[in-house]
Amino acid sequence: MRAYDPLVKQLLDGELTLAELPPELQAEGSEALRLLAAVDRRAVMLPETLDARVMDALRTRARTVSLTRRSLGWITEPWELRLRVRPWALGAALAAAAALVLVLRGPGGTISKQGPAATASALPESLLVRFVLYAPGAKQVGLAGTFNQWNQSATPLVRAGSDGVWTVTLTLPAGQHQYGFVVDGRRWVTDPAAPAVDDGFGRRNSVIAVGGTVRAGRVL
């Protein structure tokens, strides 16, 4: 466990330059800057062979499943239906759909609004987001926010090497989320790489906006 001098922490926060540190702290400051510069901040890239490996694993698993379970699965699992629409059939299909609508409406009847639009909106766009915290002295680090009901233990970060860098990658739904890191189960830390707002309890929450397209009047 390593505790940096407060002046070195100010250096890491960009409040001081290396030249402004006392001579006896310059070596420590240089080392801390080197460790920060070594943090891998590249986007997470999945290997190209991942698809093939996952499919192989699924096929292997499917071969080992018992006949009973396969039979049950045949009944309960969703089927894939492939429909090919031919031009000459399109008119007939539209007529049939119109007739179905009329039958369902009946005299003064209504139709449920849970159509394809509702299904689509129930499938929010989500993205993989990588969170990184430099906490060299920490024994454990958790990520808590609006996306996990502020549960400190729901999303633990893992050490990335031995340089005090902790990281976790998770899928977040589109939208705006507030969060914080919890170091050693008691100390709340904001993300130094994200904007922050007052949390109403005397601390600050980091903010992340997931998604980035404006589509049909909705923010995704």
Binding site: G14, L36, R41, Y134, Q176, P192, V197, G200, F201, V207
Partner: protein, 225 residues
């Protein structure tokens, strides 16, 4: 008379169904996470929010956050009240921007902008600027994020105005915070970075194959937003 009574009862049941369901939802989300007194207080506030057309989820989220952070019950309730006030102020400001019945998403975005440091009239101005294809919620979120990153609120409004009125795309608008962070990471102050983004050529960034020369900022410090 049986029929009118039945009608009244049915009407009352239908009218109460929504709020009661909302109360049940609030209670279910909070029980076990915060003390019973906080549950009761948040239920009352959630009912008031629903009656005023405000979203109740941010109130419940704030209570859960307070519970998770080990905050004293009275302080949790105070924070939830503060969120209620921000939502109400945001809804008022948004309505003043000619959105008669703002949806929950827009109100939440307005409350975020207020919490980030913007004033009600600035929220109103941003809503007025948000003509198609810029949804008010997107504009308010972007503006709130810029302000949270340290751009003075009046300058944020001007930057958003420049972006929208110069006809840039919605994606350009949403990309403003990331571009600002990039410039700040290279040594510019938030105000300087925002001023640079307000210039159309700078905000669009280099086109493919036409990179801009480096402006000589010091190397990025990844530990600082």
């Amino acid at each position: 008379m049986t029929t009118p009574r039945c009608g009244v009862l049915v009407f009352a049941a239908v009218a109460c169904a929504g709020p009661l369901a909302a109360q049940g939802d609030v209670t279910a989300r909070l029980v076990g996470r915060v003390p019973p007194a906080v549950v009761a207080a948040v239920r009352v506030l959630a009912d008031s929010a629903a009656a005023r057309g405000l979203p109740a989820d941010p109130l419940v989220d704030k209570a859960i956050e307070g519970g998770a952070k080990g905050v004293a019950p009275e302080r949790v309730v105070a924070a939830v009240r503060m969120v209620f006030g921000e939502l109400d102020a945001a809804a008022t400001a948004i309505r003043a921007g000619r959105v008669a019945i703002p949806d929950g998403e827009t109100i939440e975005a307005g409350a975020f902008a207020l919490a980030a440091g913007m004033a009600g009239p600035q929220v109103t101005e941003l809503v007025r600027l948000s003509t198609d294809p810029y949804p008010p919620a997107a504009t308010l979120r972007v503006a709130g994020t810029l302000t949270a990153l340290g751009v003075p609120a009046p300058q944020t409004v001007e930057l958003v105005r420049e972006t929208i009125q110069s006809g840039r795309s919605g994606a350009d608008l949403l990309a403003l915070p990331a571009k600002l962070q990039s410039r700040v990471a290279r040594g510019a102050s938030p105000a300087q970075a925002a001023a640079g983004l307000a210039r159309p050529d700078d905000a669009r960034g280099p086109t493919p194959g036409q990179g801009k020369p480096d402006k000589g900022y010091p190397p990025r410090n990844p530990h600082r937003p």
